[in-house]
Assembly symmetry: C2
Homo-oligomer: 467 residues x 2
């Protein structure tokens, strides 16, 4: 039974043979990783010195090496005719060109993209490990309120505003409104970790709400995408999504908690090196794979795995072992998010951008207000920093870009509206980390002691300000 219908592909594969291509792909990946790490560290260190969150520096470092400026790290969708500068370097040091070189470029991009995805999976696994399931369940109702308001308010304000103020048709307005509902759990969680606020009450509400928002975002995206495609909402798919998301999160955590003693027992029986980290990665990857297969996101599975293992007696040891892996892989994610972002749409001197920029300023205002209000909806928590919770929900990050990408592919978005969404995503993503630092600096609450560990690997400048 032949699996591949198109046999000519097999021929292409055979021609551009492994033996010829693979060493070049490896060379390309090594160069890309060197570039990514230099961008991450230079950006991160500069930001740390002017008291901005290092992750903002990694994003900005990515912008500098990416499609907006140096073209060192670019991906097929933004490569244009000339490809990346790194691949041109590879082509000048070898006699490879044409289809062979494209195949090398494609391979290298694929590997770097997947390393970035593994990076955000490891990040969410680490965030899960640092989180406290009991605390998350305790703040669950508040997190749910924050998440739901953070979806409804920006969507309603954005969609009606675009229709009323800008005369935009319903479907594109709904799409843009939907893009306003996203929250980038990766960026928010990373900034919270850098500020050592991850296990504060505010931090846990933000994380809980961001996870729920991720699920809500997937549902919203499914709804608007089917709306754009067929003009109507496929209720059945939406129901399946909601049920499977709920079943997955609840099921993973309950079954995981039942099985975790078996896990610890197995790990204790093992005699070879890496027994804890490999077993934990298998667990995290299995949950990530299941989450990806049922149309959720892989990172939700990794987060659930981290939450479950955080309750085992092995969690301290595991947290220590995951740090170097996270340090290696996570910057690849943030730098590539920056590298993929084309900031040229922000240039007001280009007349083609002006219409987009006007819509964008409206979207940015709605994006910020729509999330900041969520904090003030938190009930029954005295002395909590409500502003910080709202600010923590602001960054749209890669999730917002997915909305723009799907909208653009479906043909629902005009060029200026797509550009406006991208501008909104860029500004909320880049503005949230420093804002979050400011609102937490004003806070009176001292961070709990459990956070010292994550902090130990960090800067002395990043000590919490206890007033």
């Amino acid at each position: 039974m032949p699996l591949y219908g198109d046999v000519s592909w097999l021929t292409i594969l055979a021609e551009a043979s492994e033996a010829e291509i693979e060493p070049l792909v490896l060379a390309g990946v090594l160069l890309s990783l060197i570039t990514v790490y230099l961008a991450a560290k230079i950006g991160g260190e500069l930001c740390a010195r002017v008291n901005l969150p290092p992750v903002l520096g990694e994003l900005l470092g990515g912008v500098v090496v990416g499609v907006s400026a140096l073209h060192l790290i670019v991906f097929p969708e933004g490569a244009g005719e000339t490809g990346s500068v790194l691949m041109q370097l590879v082509s000048t040091t070898t006699d490879m060109d044409g289809a062979g070189l494209l195949s090398v470029f494609r391979g290298e991009s694929e590997v770097v993209s997947i390393l970035a995805e593994l990076g955000v999976i490891i990040l969410l696994f680490e965030i899960g490990l640092e989180s406290d399931l009991k605390e998350l369940i305790r703040v669950g109702p508040q997190a749910a309120v924050v998440a739901i308001i953070g979806v409804v308010v920006p969507f309603a304000l954005g969609t009606t505003g675009l229709i009323v103020l800008f005369n935009i048709a319903t479907i594109p307005a709904v799409f843009a409104g939907a893009a306003l509902t996203a929250t980038s759990i990766g960026i928010t969680a990373k900034v919270l970790a850098e500020l050592q606020r991850l296990s504060s009450r505010e931090g846990q509400i933000i994380i809980g709400a961001a996870v729920l928002d991720d699920v809500l975002g997937i549902i919203v995206l499914a709804v608007v995408a089917s709306l754009a495609k067929t003009g109507e909402i496929e209720i059945q798919n939406v129901v399946i999504l909601i049920v499977s998301a709920a079943a997955f999160l609840i099921g993973a955590i309950f079954i995981g908690r039942l099985l975790s003693p078996v896990f610890v027992g197995l790990v204790n029986q093992m005699k070879t090196r890496g027994e804890l980290i490999i077993s934990s990665l298998v667990f995290a990857f299995v949950l990530s794979y299941i989450a990806a297969t049922i149309q959720l996101e892989a990172i939700l599975g990794a987060f659930a795995a981290g939450l479950i293992l955080a309750e085992t007696p092995k969690h301290k040891e595991l947290e220590e072992q995951i740090i170097p892996i996270s340090d290696m892989l996570v910057p690849i994610f943030f730098v590539t998010v920056g590298a993929r972002t084309d900031v040229s749409v922000l240039n007001p001197l280009d007349p083609a951008n002006r219409e987009g920029l006007i819509i964008a300023s409206f979207l940015v205002v709605v994006a910020i207000i729509g999330k900041v209000v969520t904090g003030f909806a938190v009930f029954g928590q005295e002395g909590i920093n409500k502003l910080a919770i709202g600010v923590g929900m602001i960054p749209r990050g890669e999730v917002g870009l997915v909305f723009a990408g799907v909208g653009s592919a479906s043909g629902a978005l005009s060029e200026s509206l797509e550009a406006a969404i991208i501008v909104m995503v860029i500004l909320t993503t880049f503005v949230a980390p420093p804002l979050l630092r400011i609102v937490f600096k004003d806070s009176d609450a001292a961070p709990p002691t459990e956070e010292v560990e994550l902090a130990s690997a960090q800067s002395s400048e990043e000590q919490p300000s206890v007033s």
Copy 2:
């Protein structure tokens, strides 16, 4: 200036768009990693329980999940018509097929291959960190003798034997003889680390000789490949290779030692997380890239980087941080080496294999004798375990497979001779780890104390036997 001559490729790229392919590639990679880790851990644990080196278990685990048996981890060259079972699983859980599915399979294979390559780069970096440059230089003359004899004896015995006893033509005989010269530095080093003998005098002679053998192997391969292609040896290329290899190894170590205080100074100035590990990886990847670009192997650069950083005051901290990364990536290398190995050529019931098996038994004998004698050539080292040194040089591993692959691609090797080389590679690779354990068990020398650290992550069964 268009970089890609063949524009139809761009069309193919655009059709099989990122948005559709990438989540499936990620799912494929996650499934592959889960499979790899399960194979590595089950194989490794079983071997540890019957007192065999865990790395042998990882290789055998790879054979079980690879092209020889379960077809869970296969690569395009061994995929045949049906592809991997994992990809069939992906195809049944989605509606992807034809060119799209092939593109997913190709992407997934590429990523897993590169992760394996990064694994062996990290392994050699770790081995470099655990090695002692001064000790390596001190045993340099002995290592050089071991390496040279280990190339000359198997090559001479193998080539003449094939011509005289089996009536094989000169060029194929030279190719098979050349394949006998290889030593797999990865397998040897891993077994030594598992036996806690890496920094023993024997261990350092083996590592030094294996590194030199790797360089010699590249030169031998260049010579025989040009011989097979053009019928004559391109002296100029060979000279360039020898000069660049020598210049690289000496230059990297001398310039590296001069610059390492600058490196430590920079790392000490950094304030963001992962400062040591990221800086060290950048250093290792830069040397790996340079080594790969001048036609050496990337792993030699990583080994040199490890050696240099081993001399800095940061080396203890770095060794600890590299362990989880190594635990995560190195098994991917060993399992994929096993997975790529087609052990069906070992089946004596298949008449097509018989001629190859007869030649193979000759090659295996030469392969073992030709390396074991090298230990007895070591001079001026009293009380050294000479047999252990010779046995440590036996495994051909992936290096031997490269010879078989290049020979097969050049058309110089008949099918039976290629099969014989593969059988020789398999047997030497799989037999060496247990043999090495036996000959070291007989040894009187107690391992030096520096090795305790690497051992701490290992089994209690693996304590050295001090008689």
